[in-house]
Amino acid sequence: MTTPAPRSGGFAEPYGHSSGANLADILERVLDKGVVIAGDIRINLLDIELLTVKLRLIVASVDKAKEMGIDWWETDPALSSRARRDELARENAELRERLARLEELEPGSTRKEAP
């Protein structure tokens, strides 16, 4: 990776560029921003648009995408472990809530609720 020359202000280094920027910072700029020109390889624009939609789904909300039945990243090794952990945690919480509701429905315990 390139090391940019220090700027006239001399402040550039601590806020150093690509080194400090994560992949999401870079992708959201190079895919989504910048000047859009149709080159000779015309299909690239469409493809990037599609890809951006997919990345946006991740960026927006994993849960929302799953609700919509979109889960392509689960087969993507770069992204899947995280998605799987989230799902386990969610399922765990859901089961505990169901258990708690069942306990509340128990006759003995509902009576205790009344003053």
């Binding site: 920027a21 994560n22 992949l23 000047v35 493809d47 990037i48």
Partner: protein, 270 residues
């Protein structure tokens, strides 16, 4: 029949200083300057095997390839930013040969010149705000060896949820006030959709993701302002990136219709 295509990184005015000699672009190829009238395109040769339509389509679905290509693209833009004000093109803008690049410049010359004038001497700063995740051992308030009843569990869960919502509201209020303060110090600003940790690898929830266009000579003050806010924010983390080329502000599209305004509300998943 050539086996190389011309990849265009940016358009800018002729450079006052040469590019770093060891600079490499996509696939390790050195970027070259292609001059046309009063503009230059910064280009390099990329293999047709990677950038022809079908190959590119397949590559774009490969996050590793995409990441490496995006970093190489950004590396060249970064180097340009140290010697000029580049107008960065979107990733994978590819032409058959130099004459294709020249015709493109010819056709868009007025747009390029206008955008370059508007951005001359300006850089982009990225500012993100994250909630700091609570310390891992909040559970320890209840002895772990005593099994919790379902009711206790529910009660605590509700309390946690309420506390979490209040924290989030406070975080979003801070994000909004910070954004307003920074906009007042910038020439222009854009809100980007919040980042998800799966891509960014960052801890906590991203409640502000914004870009600010700031003249170079006022950047020091802008950076100091952002730095100062880091002390006023217990439980929140402010991150600064940059200086970037003015990616978020160079927007004009082929049709000239889509000006990428930041219509997305910070902290709101669409």
């Amino acid at each position: 029949m050539t086996t190389g295509l011309r990849y265009v990184y940016a358009v800018c005015r002729p450079l006052g200083a040469p590019l770093q000699a060891q600079l490499t672009g996509i696939g390790g190829a050195p970027p070259a300057l292609l001059r046309h009238h009063g503009l230059i395109a910064v280009v390099s040769t990329v293999p047709e095997a990677d950038f022809a339509e079908d190959a590119l389509k397949a590559h774009l679905e490969d996050l590793d390839w995409l990441a490496a290509t995006a970093r190489a693209h950004q590396g060249v833009i970064d180097a340009l930013t140290t010697v000029t004000t580049p107008l960065p093109l979107r990733l994978a803008t590819v032409f058959r040969d130099d004459s294709g690049v020249r015709s493109m410049i010819e056709a868009r010359e007025a747009d390029f010149l206008r955008a370059l004038d508007r951005l001359e001497g300006r850089v982009e700063w990225g500012v993100k705000v994250f909630t700091e995740p609570p310390p891992a051992e909040t559970e320890s308030s209840a002895p772990a060896d005593r099994p919790m009843s379902g009711r206790d569990y529910l009660r605590r869960r509700r309390a946690d949820t309420r506390a979490h919502e209040e924290d989030l509201q406070a975080a979003e209020a801070f994000a909004q006030s910070l954004h307003e303060r920074l906009c007042a110090r910038a020439e222009d600003c854009r809100l980007h959709p919040p980042q998800n940790a799966a891509l960014s690898g960052a801890r906590g929830r991203n409640v502000l993701n914004a870009a600010y266009l700031v003249p170079r000579d006022r950047s020091e003050g802008f950076v100091e302002l952002v730095d100062r806010t880091k002390d006023e924010t217990a439980g929140l983390r402010v991150e600064l990136t940059g200086p970037w080329a003015a990616y978020s502000f160079s927007g004009f599209s082929e049709e000239g219709t889509r000006e990428d305004g930041g219509g997305v509300t910070a902290g709101e998943a669409r």
